[in-house]
Symmetry: C2
Subunit: 199 residues, 2 copies
């Protein structure tokens, strides 16, 4: 008889953590909440992770590395700078659509947490900004973007606009239908690119 599936408790704990962090926020969740949600004993969390922090770190690193690869892969694939930015926006929005709770946790608890995890993961976060800035720079070199703007500034604006839209969805401040997601992707690219176009 086939061995029973090992019920991968580690994964179970990570998935439960996403749900609980999204619901209550990192600071407000007790380790026992994670264990309960995962249907697992308290101590097991510490068997797989050194600390509560490490659970969040793991979630962030897992997801962010995907984002980084996606951006860098997009850049390597070629195409117009504008198309590249569109691909990046699309990837981020779709990440949210696919797993809103995970993206919420990453944005709220890491990316925007300047005093805790944000500082810890600054290098990786920064790398995303820089990759986007690279795309902008390429557009400036080939003349599709005006070249009197610091690429890093443009990158931050672009990324910030996207993140704020996600935040709007998280807070339910703006509507979140499939059309809205698609419209949002387009809005961001249109505003940034046409705004960057030579006069």
């Amino acid at each position: 008889m086939a061995k029973a599936p090992p019920a991968d408790k580690r994964r179970q704990i990570l998935d439960a953590a996403v749900r609980v962090f999204a619901r209550q926020g990192f600071h407000a969740t007790r380790v026992s909440d994670i264990a309960d949600e995962a249907g697992v004993a308290y101590g097991l969390v510490y068997h797989y992770f050194r600390s509560k922090d490490e659970v969040l770190n793991e979630l962030f690193v897992e997801r962010w590395s995907l984002l980084l690869s996606a951006i860098e892969e997009t850049d390597r694939m070629g195409g117009s700078p504008r198309a590249k930015l569109a691909a990046v926006a699309s990837f981020i929005v779709d990440s949210y659509r696919h797993d809103p709770e995970l993206m919420q946790v990453i944005i709220v608890e890491v990316t925007r947490a300047a005093n805790s995890f944000g500082r810890t993961h600054l290098p990786e976060i920064r790398r995303a900004y820089e990759s986007i800035a690279n795309i902008v720079e390429e557009g400036q070199r080939d003349g599709t973007f005006r070249d009197d703007i610091e690429p890093m500034f443009a990158s931050m604006s672009f990324y910030g606009a996207i993140e704020q839209l996600l935040t709007g969805w998280i807070f339910a401040v703006i509507p979140a239908s499939d059309t809205d997601f698609e419209q949002a992707k387009e809005l961001v690219v249109t505003t940034i690119c046409d705004g960057l176009g030579p006069r």
Copy 2:
């Protein structure tokens, strides 16, 4: 003789709280840190505020109401939608330039803290988005902005771009000279408005 200045301990506590919150983050600061920084007894904090939360709330409400008035006043004053957006961007950036620590605290601990104070103050935060959306809508009515974009989406992108630039300064990811501040204001307005212009 004039009455000795009452040394306004309440103000002293608020100002100290800004510094400490900015340095360590809200969660990591103990009430005793605030008292020490203010040069005041521990208990006095509780004489003026019901709780540690209320200190942060007070800081936020004080500043945010200024921002709201500024936006709404700008709107009332007239001028092109583009000029209005420029004024809003300018006000926010200058707020940061004038008191970076306070703006850092407000952004990091409230505006972007979806799980704690962000939820509490959602109505006020939302009101800012809506005021900006109003300006966009006006531009759509008078034909300076394309009208196929949800004003609320444009507003979120605009505000998000600005906030991300502030975050860049907070994290020291992007340079922060006077020229940089001015350039940033312009960048945001240019990208958003020209991107919103009719094709």
